[in-house]
Point group: D2
Chain length 314, copies 4
């Protein structure tokens, strides 16, 4: 059992979501320049209960239920000072080499990165504040606001959550595309105004594109659907370091293109949206596993086309 340092809390983990990046590390041993060189505990979507307080920690009490923002930045560098702490080069992030993650019975974290979980939210939902944050960050980057028309490409867990978040931001037309009909059906059930078969159905004009598939064709077609001065946000990681984009359209329509890396300042928003019922996170949870079955959970996405978000309970 780890010892909480100054201003840290010791958390007994009760629920951990399985993320595609966990699966990628498990299968490939690396993501880009992040290489697993020593045994590593994965897992960064977690909730649990505070069981001990480090020196000077005062924000939580023992027994409090909390969700954990898994990356603790330095708080001092140029990026941190500018409020872009997700881009801090010295961030310590759960389950990213060489930092151990949350597929564990206990973890420690700075108290300011543990957030109180309202009674109305389950531990599983608490764990999903992390992927929900990815969706929130994408919608913020896209500038989604009330009455907007949003196209989400890719209906995996992130795409499905980004879609729900877009609706929670007030978007009134939210289309989502995928090749997996079961995921499209889930999208329809959770609020998509239209579910598109990728590569077949034509999207309507959109104010914002949230690309969650990592598929080069989705990016190109998605940008083509944007209105002048619209915004494309890349969330899904594609196959290579670089890719083709329609530069003439980007210029002629003055389209904005950006990408997201994790998120910043999203946890209070995530908790508020979940607690007020603006998003339905239970709908994407498709499996529950014990800590000893974590490997099965990591394989669930590959073994079961209906799997969206497996959750592990240490």
């Amino acid at each position: 059992m780890p010892e909480p340092g100054p201003r840290e809390v010791l958390v007994e983990v009760t629920s951990v979501g399985v993320c595609g990046s966990d699966v990628h590390y498990y299968e490939h041993g690396r993501i880009g320049s992040h290489v697993v060189r020593a045994p590593l505990v994965l897992g960064h979507e977690s909730a649990g209960r505070v069981v001990a307080l480090g020196e000077g920690a005062s924000k939580h009490a023992e027994g409090d239920r909390v969700t954990l923002e898994p990356g603790v930045p330095c708080g001092r560098c140029r990026e941190c000072r500018a409020g872009r702490y997700n881009l801090c080069p010295d961030v310590v992030f759960f389950g990213t080499p060489p930092v151990d993650g949350a597929f564990a019975r206990y973890v420690t974290i700075h108290e300011d990165f543990a957030f109180a979980l309202p009674d109305s939210l389950s531990d599983d939902v608490g764990a999903l504040m992390e992927p929900l944050s990815v969706g929130i960050w994408a919608c913020r980057k896209a500038g989604v606001s009330a009455g907007d028309r949003v196209l989400v490409t890719g209906a995996g867990p992130i795409g499905l959550l980004a879609m729900q978040v877009a609706l929670a931001f007030g978007a009134t037309q939210v289309e989502i595309s995928d090749v997996n009909e079961r995921r499209l059906e889930l999208a329809r059930q959770t609020g998509a105004t239209r579910a598109l078969r990728a590569g077949e159905d034509e999207p309507a004009e959109a104010d914002a594109l949230i690309e969650c598939s990592g598929h080069p064709g989705a990016l190109q077609a998605g940008i083509a659907a944007l209105r002048p001065a619209g915004t494309a946000v890349l969330v899904g990681m594609g196959p290579g370091e670089s890719g083709e984009v329609p530069l003439a359209l980007i210029q002629g329509r003055e389209i904005w293109v950006t990408g997201t890396f994790r998120y910043a300042n999203t946890y209070p928003t995530a908790i508020a949206l979940a607690a007020t019922g603006r998003v339905d996170l239970d709908s994407i949870i498709t499996g529950h596993f014990g800590l000893e079955d974590t490997e099965t959970a990591l394989r669930a996405g590959r073994d079961d086309p209906g799997s969206v978000k497996p959750v592990v309970h240490p």
Copy 2:
């Protein structure tokens, strides 16, 4: 019956909301520097049916149901070019001296300022796209986004709509204050997370204040409730040209204060929010009057404390 000019449409008016500014002109003959010097038709919250097209008009067909954005700007000046067309010094605005308004059987307007009304929306709701626009504009100025905490002071028609719009923008804490218990009850029924008796109940910390009462005390107390770097938007007009604000708080917390004058680029959003059920406009309609009873409608607010929004049907 007026003749539609080039690119104008002739609209048979079917529904016109009564606004506090109509009442003010009716009772006082002026609003600030706008003075009624000749007989004037009031009314600027209107919907109807296109009955004739001027030369070159092609956006609508005869018979189309439309809601009318009542101010047509010049489209050329510095403000128009910058997208701030609500501040165009040469705007022609319904029911503002010397321009006649919509308490009439027929009006003409440039086709680009008539917006198609979906079948699902009634004419009355169509008329209320105008005050809904005021609420949308206030929320945009306030930068309301998902998970935000908003304080609305004043639960008249504009305050009640601003409150609903804040919810539609994703705000998860929306408090509203008034002295009129009937209006507070209506606020509770239409989504307020808390209804406050003005001057008695303490508001919670808020990210944004939308001041709709025109009451100096509401402004001061509302600003005091804002978090650091929060925003206060003045919508309600107060009694004088100037007023007291807590300058030391504005400086020490770097609060932003601004005001709204009408709105710009809101009609498509208003229609989308209404058509998708994000706002409930029927809830604030409290009376229906024939054109011949327009004066009664103008007096309804004074005669009946339960009156919120009377609608006139020419």
Copy 3:
């Protein structure tokens, strides 16, 4: 001699700059989807003297010296209303098929798109308010502010002006790259903090990239030089409809990429910068031609590697 319409002015043209797009139309008969199908007068960088007023025109007097913003938008559509009038689909733009341009003795234009030229500015400088606007628009899109570090790739007329504008916006590190040593020398003389041989010298870290070369490699290398959350603005048009960009960098560093199409709301700024000596436009003028020598002027860039900006005097 054309007749000025309502609110138009008739302008006797005295100076017209030659733009790369004029040359492209001249040589290829088209730019993308804009195809020259009938005899067309080119030229859109112009200044002159008001010689007659159309009905209702009151902004200028006969004899006034003016510079002309060459694109007159509709003022009514979604883009115009939002202040993005450069993206108006119905814009009427000098020298773009089928609209005749300014290589002519007289042109007419809406009075609001003619801007008074201070006595201190020559007609030639007046004509160059147009390419200067391109540089201003690029710097605005890039969010250039005081103390910023800007990389400009391509030292043609637009790159050289964008560089000067970046300095005028307060940028304190402005590097510019090209393969043409004469242009690099001109860049050094007009304020570049460093002139780079494209493909050889390594740029320093930058807050913003302004890509003016249209060269795919410049775009890729330029984006790689950006700090996290930096912005890349594409001004130069590349060889194809689409091109490669470093998507993994855009995501991992949350870089913003956009392009520019003409400009909006730049003329007052352009005139103010020139009138206060913040930019030196004479430095880029490399040739003077009579109207009858317009073809020679159009060929100057090809015939003379030292040519930057030829100017025609009708």
Copy 4:
């Protein structure tokens, strides 16, 4: 001599500017809710030389010349995470009770809040990076950009620097007002496009107001000079907790009003502007004092109407 803690540097102070707030503490023993209850060393505008490194400090070497950002925030709270670290409630700020300041021979500070001073900048100029930061922050809040028209009210040290900074941001019309003719003369010498006798001369229309006098009348008149949608930034502190503002103008013209509290992310910009000669800081230094004459320096502003910025050399 203090001992540098982990990641701190020990700095031998060589130059410290006297700020109006130092004088206010000296004369009144408090500023608002900040009350001096025990002997306190004042001074927060400082530069010096690193003479020792705390454990883990690696950013500077012994002997390095540095300027010190005097407020070290917590780096973890909501304000810090959002990039608004100047509003951190737990900031530790030099010379603000109960934290000792820089009118001392040695101070310690976290290494990330010491910034390397280029050889071209003197220690005195290094100390003035602090008030220069106030001017930069004001111009950022005001959104000053190239070609803008700025009105600065109050030509004390902060007003004079804000004026210079506005010019460095590219403003082309910068008017400044005061009642002190010597300060107006200094303003003219350092770039003001017009110096106004407060209460007598009428300012021209401006895009932004930077209020540095704390005088209620200056605020009111300054706001009246703003164009529609202009911005007023309150830097100078007025006599009371609250004050009158022209609310009808703020509403009718949709003006933005805000205030500044210290600054954030300004030091790199300040150093870059000074090092490239965009601002002239020596022009405002009006006296040099030894550490033993600090009281004389604190009284200089009262005793000598020509005093602008006295500097103390420990």
